[in-house]
């Protein structure tokens, strides 16, 4: 079976299992919506300064809500020792990692796409004016979050305090990607397209995704088998 078919089989399996139990997606979505609504009470949505922190606010919510999905990624394999069966199967660690990353990406993206309209309503922001550029930034930032989160989910899967360890390991490495995504999102939500002053952040975000995806694909076999 080809590499990409293996990736799709793993991603489909993870999505099917998650959609049956809804363990991670319900928790993640509820968390994201509650934080967005609570923060809307703390800030005056008519203030320009509120809009200027919108990128930061959104990405902090996405990062924390995403961690709830990412924590389950490899932990899902622990009951019944299913990870053993996946490691024993004649597929590469890279295919296993990429399949899980794709499933996580789609789940986190779904949470984000539901959160955005809620954000628009509660913060009185017309966030759709640069819709496609915002979707591009959302996809790049979410891939950065999921690729780092998935590799650390594999690394921490056998640790008893993995729910605590995963965010502690993930967020420091994510800082450059989160900074870029926050800067770009703030501008796009305010209606400013990506221009010469912000394009460097976009390039950095793309570079981050490429580098960390490549590093994770190389390291995952060692992470899983030692």
């Amino acid at each position: 079976m080809g590499f990409f078919r293996q990736v799709l089989v793993i991603a489909a399996k993870d999505l099917r299992a998650e959609l049956r139990t809804k363990e991670a997606i319900n928790a993640s979505l509820a968390f994201a919506l509650v934080i967005l609504v609570l923060f809307s009470f703390a800030f005056d949505p008519t203030e320009d300064t509120t809009r200027e922190i919108s990128g930061g606010l959104l990405w902090i919510v996405f990062a924390f809500a995403g961690a709830l999905v990412l924590n389950r990624s490899f932990a899902r394999e622990l009951p019944n020792d299913c990870l053993d069966a996946l490691i024993a199967a004649p597929i590469s660690g890279a295919a296993l990692f990429l399949g899980k990353a794709v499933a996580n990406f789609l789940l986190v993206l779904a949470v984000e796409l539901v959160s955005l309209p809620v954000f628009g309503i509660f913060y009185n922001v017309q966030w759709t004016s640069q819709f496609w550029e915002l979707m591009l930034v959302l996809a790049l930032g979410t891939w950065a979050l999921t690729v780092i989160g998935t590799i650390f989910s594999a690394l921490t899967v056998n640790i008893r305090l993995r729910e605590v360890m995963l965010p502690m390991l993930t967020y420091p490495i994510l800082v450059p990607a989160l900074l870029g995504a926050m800067q770009l999102t703030t501008g796009l939500v305010a209606g400013r397209p990506i221009g010469p002053d912000t394009v460097a952040w976009l390039k950095m975000l793309i570079g981050f995704d490429v580098v960390y995806t490549a590093v994770s694909l190389v390291l995952v076999e060692t992470v899983l088998v030692g």
Binding site: V9, A17, D81
Partner: protein, 232 residues
């Protein structure tokens, strides 16, 4: 060429040597019963043979190749302490998934065939989380045999099985041996194991204390190997 060759394998957990210079071989078509007290290193050795972890020193070869090679993994079937199937998926979905991962030509047909052979065809669309323990064990057996492996590595396969599952497993193992497949099983249930085994290896505190053919004496008195080569 040996089907499975373990050559001077050491495994350390921290400073503790769980395996110490273990050497043993299993010829193609043979059945090796790996016996030993709790903590002797049976599970660690089987996991290294299956490619789940790497030895600290030494090497394992399956038909002359390292166990982590993709082509080698295709030849190995493993049953560990867990059943290694997903509770959220149905029996048919589980087997079809592993059929796809092992690159079977028609995963669904193979899955249906093995569900029938293990007596699970009536519950093929039931979620595994709703299965009884015996049904889950039979599904685990089906998963391990699904891709027609040449080498079966079974870690205490008779533990917690009901009578029906034991009968299914023994029948499948006899068929596998008759087809020339190699079986290595660790167990505390010496009588069941020695009925099948052509060879016996005794692990004692991480060392292979004995490795040789199973004899009628051993089958008649399963404690004999422990008494003679172990700690009594």
């Amino acid at each position: 060429m040996s089907a499975v060759a373990v050559d001077g394998v050491w495994k350390f957990y921290g400073d503790f040597p769980a395996l110490r210079d273990v050497r043993l071989e299993a010829a193609a078509g043979s059945c090796l019963a790996l016996i030993g007290r709790n903590g002797a290193g049976k599970t660690t050795l089987l996991r290294i043979m299956a490619g789940f972890s790497r030895p600290g020193r030494g090497q394992v070869r399956i038909f002359g190749n390292p166990p982590r090679e993709t082509a080698t993994r295709q030849k190995i079937g493993f049953i560990g302490h867990g059943i290694s199937v997903y509770d959220e998926l149905s029996a048919l979905e589980n087997l079809t998934l592993f059929g796809k991962l092992y690159g079977l030509a028609d995963p669904r047909r193979s899955a249906l065939e093995w569900l029938e052979r293990t007596g699970l065809e009536r519950v093929r669309n039931g979620l595994v989380r709703e299965f009884s323990r015996g049904m889950r064990q039979r599904l685990a057996v089906a998963r391990a045999f699904l891709h027609q492996p040449s080498v079966l590595l079974l870690d205490e396969p008779f533990t917690a099985l009901d009578d029906r599952a034991i009968a299914v497993l023994q029948t499948l193992l006899r068929q596998a041996l008759a087809e020339g497949k190699t079986v290595i099983l660790s167990t505390h249930q010496l009588r069941e194991a020695l009925e099948l085994a052509s060879h016996v290896a005794l692990l004692n505190r991480g060392q292979a204390a004995f490795c040789g053919p199973s004899t009628p004496e051993m089958v008649a008195d399963p404690g004999l190997v422990y008494a003679r080569y172990g700690e009594g």
